[in-house]
Amino acid sequence: MNSNLPLLTVIIPLFLSLTVVLFVRGRFNQAQQLRLILVIIFLVAIAMACLLGLMLFEILKGNTIYGVFLPQVAPFGLRLQVDGLSIIIAIVSFLLWLAVSIYSISYIKTDLVRYYSLLLILLGAVQGTVFAKDLINFYVFLEMTAVATYFLIIHKKTVVALQAGYKYILMTLIGAFLILLSIILIYVETGSYEMTGVNKSGVPIVPILFLVGCFIKAGIVPLHTWLPDAHPAAPSPVSAFLSGMMIKIGAYGIIRFIFPMLNFDLPATNFGELLNILVISAGAVSMLIGVLLALVQTDVKRLLAYHSISQMGYILLGIGLGTELGLAGGLYHLVNHALFKGLLFLCMGAVIYSTGMRKLDDLGGLWKRIPITTSTCIIAALAISGIPPFNGFASKTVLTEAIANFGFVLKFVMMVTAALTFASFLKLIGYTFFGESKKQLIAAKEAPILILLPMIVLAILCVFLGIYAKFVLNSFITFAIAGLVQPRLILKVEFWTQGTALDTLFIVTSGFVAYITASKLGLIGREKKEFKIGSFMAKLVKYLSIDRIYCNIAILADKLCKKLDSVHSQDLNIHLSWVILTLITLFVTLFFVIV
C-alpha cells in the first residue's frame, strides 16, 4: 500500500534538525537552549512513536508500505519501502536514539545546537537508509549518516578525536565509493536502481564490491581499523549509537542486498558458495581477532569497541550461513547487540561522568558508590557473554543451532569467542567496579537521573528480550525475515535444554580459567604491566591490529604526492616547454597514430 508514513518518518527528524539550527540561537543561555531541545526531542519521540507504531501495525497485517516523493525527478526522487526487516531495525534504532538523546541532555555540555541537529539528521538518515526502496536512495542516506557521524565523532575537538574522525571518514567514504561503483555497474547493466539488481547482475565484481563496502561500514576484520579509534574518541552517547546502530547499517546492507545470493534455499551457484565462504570466514576472523584484541585493552571504551568488532562477527557469521536459522540468529543478535552494546557504552559513559577516568588502572571499587551503573553494566556484560537469561544468550543459542550442520570449526570458534568475551568482561567489571577503591574516586557519585533512566530501560529490555526469547523470535524475527527466507525451522528452536546449559557452563568455566591463566601469565594487559616494546605479546598485538598497513599506505601516498609537489616546478620556462611538448605530442598522435 502507498502511504505518507515512511516519508514523514524520514522528513520529520531532518526538518526538526533545521528547526534546531534556525531557532535555538547562540544568544540563549545553555538552560534555555536545553529546554527548547528537550521540547524538540519530546516532539520527535511522540511523532516517531506514532508513525512507527502505525507502520508496525500495518505491516503485522502482512502489508508492505511504499512511499514516494518527487518520483518524476528520477533518478533522484525519494522512493521508500517499509517491510518487516526495515521496521524492526527502524524501531530498534529509534529506541536506541531516544535513549542516547535523553542521556545526552545531562552528558553533553558544549555545542548543543550542533550536537542535537546532527543527532536528528542521523536519526532521519538511518531511517532513510533502512527504508530505502532502491539502491540510489540507500546510497544517499548512507553517505548522510557517514558525514553526520563524522561531525559527532569530532564533537570533543581534541587532537585524538580529530585524528580518529579523519581515519573514520576516509575509510567510510572509500567503502561508500566502492558501493557506489557497484551501484553504477548495476544501473548500467540492468537499467534501474532496483534493489534486486545486486543479485541479478552477472558480473561477479558487483556483489564483491558491495560486500567490501558493507564490511568497511560494519567494521569487519581486516577493514576495521577505523572502529577502535572512532568509538573511544566520540562522546559516550555517540559511541553507544555508533556501536549500537551505525555499524549495523553495514550488516543491514548485506542482509538486504546480498543475502538472496547467499541463500541456500535457492539453487546454489558456485559464486554464491564462494560468497558464503567469504562472509563466514570474515565473520569468524572478526570474532576471534576482535575478542583477542579486546582482552589486552586498558581503555574501557577501546575494549568495548573491539568487542563490537567481535560481535559483528557473530552477526555476519549468521548471515553468511545462508539458512533461515542463521539469518534469524544474525538479525536477532543484531537487535540484541544494539541494546546491550549501547547499554555498555552508556554505562562506561556514566563511569567516566562520575569519575573522569577511563583507564582500567585508575578505576576500582566503584560498586558501593554507583550501584545502579554497576548493576546495569553487569546485566549488559552477562548479556554480551551469552549467559542466560539475558538476550545475548537467546541469539547465541539460535546461532549455535544454526551452525550445527556446519562442522566443528565454527562451533569451536563460537565457544572460544564466548569464553574469551566472558573473560574480558570479568576483567572490565572486576577492575572497574570491584577490587580496591582508589583514593581519587572517593568523591564519585551516581550520575543524574537522566543518565541513569535510559540505562535502566535498556537493561530491562535486555532481560525482557532474553526471557521472552521464544515470543520475540516467533512473532518479530520470523516476521522480519519472511520476505527473504521461508521460516520453517525457527519455530523449533528450544532455548532451555541440556545442550544450552552445558554450553553456558563451558563458557563460564573456561572464561574463568582463561582469565585467571592470562592474568597469572601477565597477558591481560593492564597499564602497570603493559607489554614491553619488542616483547612477543607487543609484537602479536601490533601484528593483529593491522592498522599499520593502512597507515603506511596513507603515508606512502602522502610521500608520493609530496615528491610530485617538490618535482613540480614553478619555473615559467618549464611550463612553456610543457606547452610546446603537448602541442607536438597532440600533432604526432593525431597525424600518425590515429589518422
Binding site: 544517499v140 579523519y166 567514504l173 561503483l181 606547452v579 600533432f587 589518422v595
Partner: protein
C-alpha cells in the same frame, strides 16, 4: 528595444565600466545596476530561448558571413547565466573592501562584459578579440594588490595565456584559410568539405585551438599558471577566475569541438579519446597535488584542476548523458568553488594567515561560514545530497555506458583523495584554536570585516544553491538539457 537585447547585455556592463572611471561615489551602485540590468535583459529572453528559439543579432545591421553576428542559443544562455549571476555576487562580495578603487570595478566590469562577448559572438575572430580583452583584464586584476607574488603570478599567466591565445589565433587562421569565413556556423557548414579535402589542415587547427584552450582551462600539463594566479589573486578575483573564467575556456572548447568540428568529425579524428586521457591525467594530477598543499587557496586552486578534469572526461565521453553531466558539473563547480573561495577570503582575513594550520578554531568564530564551507567541500567530494554528487554520478554513468569503466574508477579514486584534502581542512576548522595566533603573513593588507553583511550573503545564497541543486538536480538538468540537445543535433545550429 527587444531586438537589441543581445548587444545590450554586453554593452550595459561595458558602459558602466567607463562610467565607473568617472565617478568615485557611485562605483558600486553603477556596477551592480549594470549587472542587474543585464540579468533582467537575459531573463526576458530566457524562456524564449529555452523553447528552442535562437536569437540572432546582426551587429551594425550587417548580415551573414560579412558582418558580426551575436547568437544567443541554449548553450550561450547557460554560460551567460553563470557569468552574470556569479559576477553580481562577486561585485557584492567586493563591497566591504574599501581600498578597491575605481580601477578594480572598471576591470571587473570589463572582464564580465567581455566574457559575455566571448559567449555570444558567432564570429570566431571576434571571439578571440573578446577573449584577449578578458585576459588582459584578468592579468591586471590578479596583479591588483601589486605585491611581488601577485605580479609574478600575473606575469606567468600573461605569458602563458598569451601563448595560448596566439595558438588559438593560429588555429583560427587555418580555419579561415580553409573555409574563407569567420562565422562559426558558416565554418561548420563548410567543415565537412574541408575535412575530406584537407584533413591535415583541419587537424592542425584543431590541435592548435585545443592546446590554446587547454592552457586557458589548465589542462594538465598546461596548468602551470593556475595555482599561482588563482591563489595569489584577491579572494573575489580567485572566485571569478576559478568559478567563471576557466568556464569560458570550457565554453570555447565545447563550441569549437562540437559546433565547428561537428560531433561527427570530432569522433572521426578520435579527439574524444585525447580529451578523456588528458581529463583523467588532469583529474589525478590536481587531486594529488592538492593533497599536500599547506596554503588554503593553493589547495582550492589545485582542486579546480581536479574538478576540470572531471568536466573534460564528461566532454570526452561525448554521449548525451556525458555532456549533460559535464555541463551540469560546470554549473555546480562554479557555485561550489566560488563559495569556497568566498569562505577562504573571510577565513584568511580573520586568521591573518593563508596556512591551513592557522585556521584552527574558525568554527567558533563564524559557524555559519564554516557550515557553508563544509557544504561546498562535501559537494566537491561528491557526497549526496549536494549538487556535486548529481553531476559526478551522471558522468560516471555515462562513462560506464560508453564502456570506460576505468574512468569511473579514476573518478572515484580522485574523489577519495579530494575527501582526504577537504576533510584535512575541515578538521582544522573545527579544532580548538591555537594559543598564539600567528602573525599576519599575507601581503594583501585586507581590512578585517567580521561577519560583514555583504560578505556573508553571497555565501549564503550560493550555499542555498548548492543544497537546492543537490536536492532537486532536475532544476539544473532542465537548464542543461536543451544546450546538450543543441550540441548533439547534427543540423548546424
Amino acid at each position: 528595444m527587444v531586438v537589441h537585447i543581445p548587444i545590450l547585455i554586453i554593452i550595459s556592463p561595458l558602459l558602466a565600466a567607463f562610467l565607473v572611471l568617472l565617478t568615485r561615489k557611485y562605483k558600486i551602485i553603477l556596477s551592480i545596476a549594470s549587472l542587474i540590468a543585464s540579468i533582467v535583459f537575459i531573463s526576458i529572453q530566457s524562456s524564449r530561448i529555452l523553447y528552442g528559439d535562437k536569437i540572432t543579432y546582426h551587429l551594425g545591421g550587417w548580415q551573414g558571413p560579412l558582418g558580426i553576428n551575436l547568437v544567443v542559443d541554449e548553450l550561450s544562455l547557460f554560460f551567460s547565466l553563470i557569468v552574470l549571476g556569479l559576477g553580481l555576487l562577486i561585485v557584492v562580495y567586493s563591497i566591504p573592501e574599501r581600498h578597491y578603487g575605481r580601477t578594480y570595478y572598471f576591470l571587473l566590469l570589463i572582464s564580465l562584459s567581455s566574457m559575455i562577448g566571448v559567449i555570444y559572438t558567432a564570429d570566431i575572430f571576434n571571439m578571440y578579440v573578446f577573449y584577449e580583452l578578458l585576459s588582459l583584464a584578468m592579468y591586471l586584476l590578479i596583479a591588483y594588490p601589486k605585491t611581488g607574488v601577485t605580479l609574478r603570478a600575473s606575469f606567468n599567466y600573461l605569458i602563458m595565456g598569451g601563448v595560448g591565445l596566439s595558438f588559438f589565433l593560429l588555429g583560427v587562421g587555418f580555419l579561415y584559410a580553409m573555409t574563407g569565413t569567420l562565422d562559426i556556423f558558416h565554418i561548420a557548414e563548410k567543415m565537412s568539405v574541408a575535412f575530406n579535402s584537407n584533413t591535415r589542415m583541419v587537424l592542425m587547427s584543431f590541435v592548435l585551438i585545443a592546446t590554446g584552450m587547454g592552457i586557458k582551462i589548465a589542462m594538465f600539463p598546461l596548468h602551470g599558471w593556475l595555482p599561482d594566479a588563482h591563489s595569489m589573486a584577491p579572494s573575489p578575483i580567485s572566485a571569478l577566475l576559478s568559478g567563471v573564467t576557466v568556464k569560458i575556456g570550457i565554453y570555447v572548447l565545447i563550441r569549437v569541438t562540437y559546433s565547428i568540428f561537428s560531433a561527427e568529425t570530432f569522433f572521426t579524428i578520435s579527439s574524444h579519446a585525447i580529451l578523456m586521457v588528458l581529463g583523467a591525467g588532469t583529474l589525478l594530477f590536481g587531486a594529488s597535488m592538492a593533497l599536500v598543499q599547506t596554503d588554503l587557496k593553493r589547495l582550492l586552486a589545485y582542486s579546480t584542476i581536479n574538478q576540470l578534469g572531471i568536466v573534460l572526461i564528461g566532454l570526452g565521453i561525448g554521449t548525451e548523458l556525458g555532456l549533460i553531466g559535464a555541463l551540469f558539473h560546470v554549473l555546480n563547480h562554479a557555485i561550489m568553488k566560488s563559495t569556497l573561495f568566498f569562505c577562504a577570503g573571510i577565513m584568511i582575513a580573520e586568521a591573518g594567515t593563508r596556512e591551513i594550520k592557522g585556521l584552527s578554531g574558525f568554527n567558533r568564530q563564524q559557524p555559519a561560514i564554516t557550515f557553508a564551507f563544509v557544504i561546498a567541500s562535501l559537494g566537491m567530494i561528491g557526497i549526496p545530497p549536494i549538487n556535486g554528487f548529481a553531476s559526478k554520478l551522471l558522468i560516471c554513468l555515462a562513462a560506464i555506458e560508453a564502456g570506460y569503466t576505468v574512468l569511473v574508477v579514476i573518478i572515484l579514486v580522485a574523489s577519495a583523495i579530494s575527501a582526504a584534502y577537504y576533510f584535512r581542512v575541515i578538521q582544522v576548522l573545527f579544532s580548538s584554536p591555537l594559543e598564539h595566533s600567528p602573525i599576519p603573513t599575507h601581503g594583501e593588507g585586507q581590512v578585517v570585516h567580521r561577519g560583514n553583511f555583504f560578505r556573508a550573503w553571497p555565501i549564503y545564497i550560493l550555499t542555498a544553491g548548492c543544497l537546492l541543486l543537490g536536492l532537486i538536480p532536475a532544476l539544473g538538468i532542465s537548464l542543461v538539457k536543451p544546450a546538450v540537445g543543441l550540441l548533439l543535433s547534427h543540423v548546424v545550429p
